[in-house]
Symmetry: C2
Amino acid sequence: MELTERKKKVLRCIVDLYIRTAEPVGSKAIAQLPDMNYSPATIRNEMADLTSMGYLEQPHTSAGRVPSAAGYRLYVDELMADYRLSLDETQSINDAIEEKMQRVDKLMEKVARLVSQATDLPAISVASRSASVTVKRFDLIKAGEGSIILVAMLSTEEVVNKLIKLPVAIEETDLKLLGAVLNATMTQICADEFTPNLMERVMNSAGMGASLVPVVVEFVIDTLRRQESANMAVAGHVRLLEQPEYQSIDKAQRVLSSLDEGALSNLPAVMQNASGTKVLVGPENITEELKDTSVVMTKFDIGDGLQGMIGVVGPTRMDYAKVTARLSYFAESLSKMFNKPEQAQLPTAEAEE
Amino acid sequence: MELTERKKKVLRCIVDLYIRTAEPVGSKAIAQLPDMNYSPATIRNEMADLTSMGYLEQPHTSAGRVPSAAGYRLYVDELMADYRLSLDETQSINDAIEEKMQRVDKLMEKVARLVSQATDLPAISVASRSASVTVKRFDLIKAGEGSIILVAMLSTEEVVNKLIKLPVAIEETDLKLLGAVLNATMTQICADEFTPNLMERVMNSAGMGASLVPVVVEFVIDTLRRQESANMAVAGHVRLLEQPEYQSIDKAQRVLSSLDEGALSNLPAVMQNASGTKVLVGPENITEELKDTSVVMTKFDIGDGLQGMIGVVGPTRMDYAKVTARLSYFAESLSKMFNKPEQAQLPTAEAEE
DNA sequence: CTTGGCACTCGAGTGAGTAGAGTGCTAATA
DNA sequence: TATTAGCACTCTACTCACTCGAGTGCCAAG
């Protein structure tokens, strides 16, 4: 059977209406829509066709129709109208970002929270690094009697440090030597390249400072690894409960706990090579527990070799047009904010973390 | 009316049973308990008394009794049996702590998560500083052409840093001067004491480095404030849904969102001067939304002038004995862990945050 | 003081009956 | 040929009356 224009139109109206009402949609309701110039009977025929084609489902004989996963897929890909953000909406998104991003304490947590607020759905926010990180330069500062401070500037322009308690006193000259050796041998090297072999060589040439080398190396590897690992946050779980499909505790609990247990942690991988905004409808989600939910996600640019991703989780019946629009706009605003020159300090401020 | 021993015993049994079953308790059920040598009728009389004394409540005429807030209070303060942790329980708590605390990335988040796991309830974990923080010493490192790194060692032995981009070039000698001035004037000073007055004086004596002073001051104040502010995490919200009292979405949603919005943020204040384990029963909670829940919390010691607090939230009908025991043990284990010498690096590692 | 007995209350669960929304099919219509 | 009106049919959600049983309070006997 062929998918005529009219069939598409009917499908679109059904999905639109179902998104609004969360109730199965009947032929009468569709026929009554302003620009639908057909009788309920005609619509019924179309609906029967759409059902047999797999785009609609019927909870039971005398109920209206509900979109199937395939129906949503088609809707998302072809049918849905562009949602234009109102000035109010863009304004409030921008305000939220401006206001909240002053302190970059828990960046991803905050982004997730904001996205969740903007969409009224649980949200995820991830930052991951696209390239590997290395140390650009080491400094050693003598701090009081028995301790020194190791300062390392990373390839990302971030600066990290560690206070090292000395087991034995160390001379200023030895410290200088150690510093020179570190800078000569252990810069421009990523975490995986710190072999035992290298470490031995460094220790041999470090003189009195040799005993410090293992501590330094451990710290550096740990730091680089941490810098490279994805930083992820989920916020606003509770908003799922606002959706009529989660009025049954069982369902809600199953989904919420799977969110809590990090069911979303494989999303970044999905997004890796994609661009723009991506929608996963129901069964397309990898996790079993999220079979009845959809995910919308998009990338943004943090700058400094950091790649950001934000996404939301909701019932398959969610307002894809609106959510997609808000999410995209959000991503855009975030990208802008992170790359505004006067905000260049932000990623740096992260160095404290 | 007097609260006889037998009345207490009856009350204790009712609370115990209600905690187990979450169903109103009838006189028959109590009379059938092994060491209760009275008939249902007698128990009924006692229950009537306890009800008129305000320790019990009756959902409706023909239902059993349920403890009132006052009843729980009495139970917690006097009646409940000590809960002895089994070897299994202590073991698994210790294992969890050992295993998870290797990397101290998001300390409070992890603690909260663990506590929540150990108690099957939503948990909160807070770290707050008991004394105010000051800078102990400044260092300035020239990093490449146009930037310097400011390193500040705090009174807490933690080290923080910031990369500062220079608007104009600065000579090595000027940098030395600036460093000296900073160390002379801005150490041993807590966040509130950075007056505009002081800043002006510093700028006057800083020579070429004067333009950097505002940046430095802003960073320092921000850092000190951040160090002093409490660091808090809540985990395991979802576990509330496991409790029969939150089978109604409305209730669950109200409580969960208030948790999400930080309803617990005033708990640390409550705990400030208290010691040991504290229980807040129902209406004793300050927040309106938590009227029907109880909170159990206790302190632990992070060392380094840091004060920790862990707590859980649950229905007023919760197993106070068990929760209290596990929480106390948890706090004890955490204190031990944080103050073990070979783990002394942990709080230092936090310096990176 | 304790206990057995008894009438009473009230919620939870059951089952029949009804209203109404929606369908599929057929025959009439443009 | 495509559309529509009409109609019988299906199925759920809701209401209402009814019963069952757990639990109570009170009284009188032990």
